[in-house]
Symmetry: C2
Subunit: 340 residues, 2 copies
Amino acid sequence: MDTTVMLGHGSGGTMMKRIIDDVFFAAYAGEELLRGDDAAVLPAPAPGERLAFSTDSFVVTPHFFPGGDIGRLAVCGTVNDVATSGATPRYLSVGFVLEEGFPIEDLKRICASMAECAREAGVALVTGDTKVVNRGHGDGVFINTSGVGTLAPGVELGGAQCRPGDKVLVTGTLGDHGITIMSCRESLSFSSGLESDAAPLNHLIAEVLAAAPHTRCFRDPTRGGLASTLNELASQSGTDITVEEDAVPVKPAVLGACEMLGYDPLQVANEGKMVCVVAPDEADAALAAMRANRYGADAAIIGEVASAQPERGPKVFLRTAFGGTRILDMLVGEQLPRIC
Amino acid sequence: MDTTVMLGHGSGGTMMKRIIDDVFFAAYAGEELLRGDDAAVLPAPAPGERLAFSTDSFVVTPHFFPGGDIGRLAVCGTVNDVATSGATPRYLSVGFVLEEGFPIEDLKRICASMAECAREAGVALVTGDTKVVNRGHGDGVFINTSGVGTLAPGVELGGAQCRPGDKVLVTGTLGDHGITIMSCRESLSFSSGLESDAAPLNHLIAEVLAAAPHTRCFRDPTRGGLASTLNELASQSGTDITVEEDAVPVKPAVLGACEMLGYDPLQVANEGKMVCVVAPDEADAALAAMRANRYGADAAIIGEVASAQPERGPKVFLRTAFGGTRILDMLVGEQLPRIC
């Protein structure tokens, strides 16, 4: 067996067949829909079911970190994006861009992690592609996943649905993923015990929708963190959003790292968290449903939607622990690159 | 406006919003399904319609070449993969991995080319993602496209459907794409006038299926060329396939380049060609349908499927112009990397 990725593994011939059989099929065994044709053929959705479709590329370094790896991120990220629409994620595609010289053992670990995470999420890896780039023109491994889900009639979630009075929830502590990646990269020790939160949240979302049918939207606060996500939601719905700083769950290790480095924890990336906006009278039910799920134990109601001031346009405000209020802006430029 | 890609364009904040608005939405104007949520919600398929799903990443260099560019390849490649199942390609996702420093003007050209090609194919670009990697950890631009199509009840194409007696067709001359890319890269002049054949073939496929309803399969002979594709089909269906060398259309410029460089034109990559296996009594109808399409003018019947010898397993044979017969193997290792 080859020990590192070579250009021939991407050239469509016998070496490529070998890596597909020995690495990909070996890891994804039981995924019956992979048939050797260029497109996967999938069953007809139930009558009236719409489709949800999303894509994400993953370029994080390091490839392995506490709490996960690039493969787990790649499955969770797309599962979660599809699930935010209210759809049931069903099928994933996987596209690898490998750099010549990447260790085959690492690729096997990544594929095993993807297969395990797909099983947990209940999605099937049904089609894939592998390209190999010359040494020095990639970064070991990049992964694209795209996902297809089915969406029951009548479910209409989206940032534009938020309206004044709605409550804003998060499913758990913020900043864990971004600070974990940064600590790994810089070999910092202040975050000992911290782990990436990468997790498939589709089951949690389904449970919240069952408990709180007037949920307006889910959005995962990945790059740009909570601040960017709330600004997107405010902008899409033409509303103001006010967040209570005291109510936002952040681990002490994350807070400490952010203070030392001058980061705002509300702008740090998450991978296994959801922001959720819910009709006011269903907020408690949504919160209880989150807390009942293993990935929602630290869920909290953190804020509220209000009418925007016409002369100023939609804004996001943070009411601080000291009683002041400041505007919470989107991240400008870049804080911590390649966290996903 | 920024002139080159910066890390901040991938960080989820205001710079990323700017590149999305100024580059992607500007190019894909009219694609109404892009709404700012994390997943595109797509209409329900007609009752009984199955889905076809495929993915492909594109890493070709140079990014622009005679007859196309990486964007045109990225749309055509996935449109064609979805169409090989007999499905109507409908929706594409687009995932960019950009290298810091990549010129924004080049990105705009690529996006314009993708939009134009999507219009020709009749597919909508409905969801996307952009990542930026540090200078020296990418190669300007990599693109992943994934595609979803709808497949009418009863259509069952695939490599496993080939059976003894079937005819093998190609939709045009072989090797144009691979030799064009190599000539560009090495600044060779023997191929003057040669162009990449990158083209969306979904309409051609639909026309062939209408004319020859007992078509067994389509497969695009990209990496590994005709030789690898036929070996895949033989292996999937447990048959032998014999090709008449004289019948295979190859342009003189491609033949000349291959002779000079020691390449086998049957192992060189194509991007706008299909191999098609058809029931014997429908081969002429399929050929006529191909030739009536602008991308099938040079189509030809090039060979036949036969029973495999049980003691030897499925094989592909080439009957040469001199009357001999040799085994046509899959490409071993790599011939010409990063042609797509």
